[in-house]
């Protein structure tokens, strides 16, 4: 597979390490009422779609950036690659 890195251009996926669903960015609030349930869902439940999937890849043999890759889990076609840091900020994560 080839991942078109937003900053570096196309690179062999072998340079990357896969983590999983980009929902892992949305770490729940540890002090929330339902923190236990929220962390259980965060840590263990997955949509696991057959189709478009937003997922986290780490460019370990490259610039060490975490990427959010939108990839079809049936065709493996990649339609978007973003810096995870930008996605995290867009999802309201900060400090």
């Amino acid at each position: 597979m080839i991942i078109n890195h937003p900053l570096l251009g196309p690179r062999d996926a072998a340079e990357f390490v896969y983590l999983g669903d980009a929902a892992l960015i949305d770490r729940p609030d540890w002090q929330a009422e339902d923190a236990a349930e929220a962390f259980h869902a965060y840590g263990y439940l997955r949509d696991n779609p057959a189709g478009a999937h937003q997922e986290l890849w780490y460019h370990e043999q490259g610039d060490r950036s975490w990427l959010v890759v939108t990839r079809d889990t049936v065709s493996h076609e990649i339609t978007a690659v973003e810096l995870a840091r930008d996605v995290a900020r867009a999802r309201g994560r900060s400090r």
Binding site: L8, R11, E15, Q61, D63
Partner: protein, 188 residues
């Protein structure tokens, strides 16, 4: 108290060979210092770098050569490597002083070992281990990339039409040299 003195023993010191018309050598006294740009302080950092080295901040995956021979390589948005010839183990201090605290500096000199390859067959040899497209129209002079070769993380830099500089982890220096050397022998 000069009772004991320490001699430097860089892993690839003295490497020097020519195979398949490619000259392979380990540059002596190559210092590497990483520059991390503080969050929010990026522009200040870029200014400091301009002042210190008198050149524009390179783009990501590009490098630039300063008047004093220092080569700046932009590896990531907030990370730059400064490569320069410097024998004593104080490279980080030297760089830090020049940048007046505008960046976070870390000495990387001993983290890496370097191999320089030059000669028209170099690209043909690197085809055997380098997944990155080194075609001149794609990977021109001053381009740099981090990738993986024979299970080793490698930073590859194109210093000239037929000149490349490869950096890899110092602990695996022997395997790194082996990988590059075999590539040359296999096309000889």
């Amino acid at each position: 108290m000069a009772e004991y003195t320490l001699q430097a023993e860089p892993p690839l010191a003295g490497t020097e060979m020519e195979i398949a018309g490619v000259r392979l050598s380990a540059p002596a006294d190559l210092a590497v210092v990483s520059l991390a740009l503080p969050l929010g302080g990026e522009s200040a950092a870029e200014e400091a770098v301009k002042d210190a080295y008198g050149l524009d901040f390179p783009g990501i995956g590009r490098s630039a050569l300063a008047g004093d021979g220092t080569r700046l390589i932009r590896l990531a948005p907030d990370l730059v490597f400064a490569l320069f010839t410097h024998a004593t183990p104080d490279a980080e201090r030297v760089v830090a002083e020049g940048l007046k605290g505008a960046v976070y500096t870390t000495d990387q000199t001993d983290v890496w070992v370097a191999l320089a390859l030059s000669g028209p067959n170099t690209r043909r040899a690197l085809e055997r281990i380098c997944p990155v497209d080194l075609h001149p129209e794609v990977f021109g002079v001053d381009h740099a990339a981090r990738t993986v070769m024979e299970h080793l993380g490698v930073l590859i830099l194109r210093a000239g039409a037929d000149d490349y500089l490869l950096l890899s982890a110092s602990s695996s220096a022997r395997s790194f040299l082996h990988a590059v050397e075999v590539s040359l022998r296999n096309i000889a």
